[in-house]
């Protein structure tokens, strides 16, 4: 076993060494050799789904995703241990940040990924990674716990990422008027606030459509 292991390790290390040596052809990776790019016309787009814990992010993603939402993890390195509260879990030496995501094939060559943001604010380093290249974000709001989404709103505002607010109406009831929510969240009039039932496919679809339309308006208004 050890022998096999070291052997494997060596071959892998060999690959790494090859990867590390300076390679002038790096800028045009061997990935695009002729004959290999029939499928690579498939491209992806990304929408981020934010909101407080329990606001329905995972439900939202699951409702429209063509696959059961997957979870990917990033292991927090020691950079985070100073902020990670280990008092409650003294045996815990690492923290993993879980991100739920789903996938939607929009046409033969376009896949849309929906990423739920990791709940806690202290994982903002992952949010940066998530919002890079995203079309925009849906912030899900539970009107019973409005404050939970402040962090997400602040973050997307700060990064200039187009976002819409989906006011999650549980049991189909919107308990607060849209304008009340706008005022409570201190959101400008340009940001769409839409009622949204994360469990309803049509509802999540129209929330996503509202976001993309908003992102397009914003993109036209402020050309990059």
């Amino acid at each position: 076993m050890d022998f096999v292991d070291s052997d494997r390790s060596r071959s892998y290390r060999g690959a790494s060494a090859a990867a590390v040596k300076p390679d002038p052809a790096r800028s045009s990776p061997p990935a695009v050799r002729p004959g290999e790019d029939s499928r690579p016309n498939v491209i992806s787009a990304k929408i981020v789904v934010g909101g407080g814990f329990g606001a329905g992010k995972t439900t939202f993603v699951g409702t429209v995703s063509e696959i059961a939402p997957l979870t990917t993890e990033a292991v927090l390195t020691d950079a985070s241990t100073s902020v990670d509260d280990l008092v409650a879990t003294p045996d815990k030496s690492t923290t993993t940040v879980a991100m739920d995501f789903g996938r939607l094939s929009l046409d033969a060559e376009l896949i849309l990924y929906l990423f739920g943001t990791p709940g806690q604010h202290r994982f903002w380093f992952m949010w940066d990674d998530l919002v890079r290249g995203a079309i925009g974000a849906v912030v899900l709001v539970d009107t019973r716990r409005l404050a939970d989404c402040f962090a997400a709103v602040d973050f997307f505002e700060d990064r200039g990422l187009p976002y819409v607010v989906g006011v999650n109406c549980f049991d189909g009831v919107l308990s607060h008027s849209v304008e009340d929510v706008r005022e409570a969240l201190a959101i400008g009039p340009a940001v769409p606030i839409v009622p949204c039932d994360a469990r309803e496919r049509e509802s999540t679809k129209s929330t996503l459509i509202a976001l993309v339309e908003h992102a397009m308006r914003k993109s036209v208004a402020t050309p990059a």
Partner: protein, 185 residues
Amino acid sequence: MTAVSKPSDDDHDESFAGLVNGLSGGPWRSGGRRKRSAPSSATPQPVAADQLAPAQEQTSAAVGTFEWSQPAAAASVVRPYTWTGGRTAPVIDLAVETLVSTSEHGHDMAALTSEEHRAVAELCRGPRSVAEVAALLSLPLGVVRVLLADMADIGLVVVHRSANGSSNTPDIALMERVLSGLRRL
């Protein structure tokens, strides 16, 4: 004193191994064993080794706790990166949604020299995002990024072009495509 320190060392050894082997849900547990013999040139390694050695010399109970926490933390943090030879930065930039698929070269079983490469090649017969590869292989994102970047570098996987071009925001044409796609759903 030595009677106290001896079992503590054993305990520590067990916990160390347990952490190293048990941390990942991934199917390649044996990767953890490699870590112990990993060359000290692997970046995070020397720190753990240095701290371990003096800790073993000391026999006081107070140092015992240090011994518990320090190497354990180091082991659990470092462990997934044994996959990547200790490297944490991929050679190319891969976003979570970046698509990769197995190249023709990657379909050639002989080209796949490691278990990890075979697993990825198998998984990416159709286009998969970096996040999907990480989720389906139960590996942390950072590890998968390094792995995929290496595989792209030696031509085993194709990294699909980004729809964003050079800028960090998607272009209007892509948004139009997404919009009409969503409306068709």
